[in-house]
Subunit: 471 residues, 2 copies
Amino acid sequence: MSSEAPLYETLALQLQRRIQAGALLAGARVPSVRSMSQQAGVSIGTVVQAYQQLEAQGVIESRPQSGYYVRATRLPGIAPPRKGAPPRPRSLSRSMLDQVLAVYARDDLVPLHSATPDPGLLPTSRISSVARDLLRRIPDKVNAYAHPPGLLALRQQVAQRLGLAGVEVEPDDVVITAGAMEAITLSLQVLTRPGDAVLVERPTYYGLMQAIEARGLKVVEIANCCDDGPDIELALKALETQPIRAAVLIPSFSNPSGATMPDDARRILVQACARRGVPIIEDDVYGELGFDGRRPVPMKAYEGHAGGVILCGSVSKIMAPGLRIGWAVSARWREELIRAKSFTSCSTPTLSQHVVAEMYAGTNIDRHLRRLRASLAANVGRFHAQIASDWPAGTRVSRPRGGVVLWVQLPPGQDAHVLFERALEHGIGIIPGTLFAASGAYRDCVRLSCAGEWTPRIQTALQRLGQLARE
Amino acid sequence: MSSEAPLYETLALQLQRRIQAGALLAGARVPSVRSMSQQAGVSIGTVVQAYQQLEAQGVIESRPQSGYYVRATRLPGIAPPRKGAPPRPRSLSRSMLDQVLAVYARDDLVPLHSATPDPGLLPTSRISSVARDLLRRIPDKVNAYAHPPGLLALRQQVAQRLGLAGVEVEPDDVVITAGAMEAITLSLQVLTRPGDAVLVERPTYYGLMQAIEARGLKVVEIANCCDDGPDIELALKALETQPIRAAVLIPSFSNPSGATMPDDARRILVQACARRGVPIIEDDVYGELGFDGRRPVPMKAYEGHAGGVILCGSVSKIMAPGLRIGWAVSARWREELIRAKSFTSCSTPTLSQHVVAEMYAGTNIDRHLRRLRASLAANVGRFHAQIASDWPAGTRVSRPRGGVVLWVQLPPGQDAHVLFERALEHGIGIIPGTLFAASGAYRDCVRLSCAGEWTPRIQTALQRLGQLARE
């Protein structure tokens, strides 16, 4: 099996990126099929396929006798944060949390709340057949404990995969966990004591905020510079002036902002943290989901010999969340992580460990990832188009280059809590922005997941949300 | 399928209990086949089968022309603790821990360290076929998240099973976790703050001690009265005089002591804790493993309307540890437990939840449990016999009425750390006693697991251990 994407998909993605970057504005005419064919050095047929895909995704539209045009889907990006006083440690608020957890427990909602790809976008049937085969071949093994650090065959695959991303690690540096969330929880347990302050970006994943609160920690929030992740200048200042014990960052296709830290920023921040003796917990759970197929180099690649970064990843966004397989990777804190894992959930599901090892070793995962990325990129395009056409003027939307979520800022005066409740009345799940920061910020924001398969049901839900937001 | 044990097994167990209780001393003649047949109202053939089983287990021996005799296997029980000063909060020691964790990660040892039944004693092939069927029928479902509190069908089965044990709970009171260890960790997180003191029995499961330490808690240890669990008088005094925030107890077939709290003691302690507002975390993981088939009534049955007990259980000791399925049961702390679970490991493996629900609903679990209990009871008899014949005089051994472990006290002057290290050199895993208490107690004790299938390899390992202990 070739590991190359079809040419037309590559072309479609290139064009979509140019549109998203603003190089082709809404209403602009897309180069003709013939001129694009010459420009890109591909066949007419390839260009036609690419344009048809983009049309199906709502990114461009054909006008009879005239050609293709960029649809009026360009929305303003998220407003940059106002510069203000330097950040100070804060405790977290719990408002809305239980309501949102109740949303996750329901299966009757249009799942714009759930940041996990649909089973239809994941290699579900392959996983099932691999699992059935293992259950037939080695039933004793897959039902017994697989004690920490976990199955060697899986740790080897994780190390190899990280090697491809530019991170040199040994299988022995890998501790298998029940998803990335447990990896982060264990890392916090190993690196912090209750009362400590940890540095996070703002907005950041609410699960992270809750894990931080459960540990009795405070947060120092560094506002994101829109699509580039946390403001490095502010982060460096906070490291100098605040008693920070650890940093927890999502540098690649962050949840919820979609932001991705540039390579330089990663290096600078890793080095600054190392100088201050501040370990970094790197949530890398979306790293494989860059729409252009480029895997960002994890921050861990910059840690040097001292080893100040624990990289936390999982297969929940790329294979199956129900497997509960993730990892915490660190030579330096390996023993502590094993001990912490042993005395929280003892060990990670054994069958799942074998399944994931086998999926990496015996399946063309890259081909699957290419398809998944293309689907997610297409969804982002469709969400942009739908929001542009149906939501109130003044709505702003993030422009992620990967991942599974959109961060939407409602026009001034709108209340995301109200939208959340009204959406629920209409059978639609979304996450209000206030969960993603301490102390009530982002009352005007919501997170939408683009991880579902695009269906009329989702399209209608987006239209309905726009209508509710306009009311 | 009948849910009754074969008559000869019941008879064998009755006789074994009489021997263990001291009603028939070592060397005593067992009633003749004919008189036992009349006494018990069963056929001659049934008695012969029962005696043959007990002979195979090393409990009795036949002497030509004379009949059956109780083998010289009665060992002295564990010495009662000396009464001393009332207990005070202590911090925990970590010595030996990493060495023991390394033992768990090895699969080349005779596993006298591992308190989990062999796959051969568990319904492994049935589990595998149930799992394969689910993977074929509902691959989408079993690969997706099953968010807390977890699969309703499983929670219904857990509630029903607890109902049979005398605990009235609703499916909604059940939160599914990654094994009982995670249930306990989450309960500690919900009920305590770092720096608090919790009451535990001594000795108690070292995993519990580590979870307590990881949370930054202190312990107040109540010494066990040999086979009856913690000294109730001391426990009541501690509740009065110490600032205790919660109690963590293993009332049924405790690990490592094998002790089982009498019903009265359970009721008294639950009521005393309720009066003081001290919640109890009840580790019920061995509850189904009583050798006489009697399921002890969990402490939770005595909690009344106030609901002061979180019951923590799992299928790790009765179905398969690799599934990672357990539960924390409490109407009162349900919401807090769901929140804690959501932000540590997010959710519990989905396939595993379906498998266990199906195993309870569609399999004769009681028949399996009867066989498992009989195997474990037989193993305890064999271990007793082997230790009596091969270990140094003065060795004392616990007399558990259920569960999977023996607690062995070496003769005065012996060092269990030395035995642990020498055993490792000979490829045998055991757990030194010091892990089961704060501050270095039990330097003369080891825990042995009886959960393996009885094989010449295990027999030889027990002989070798005796030899090492004599050296």
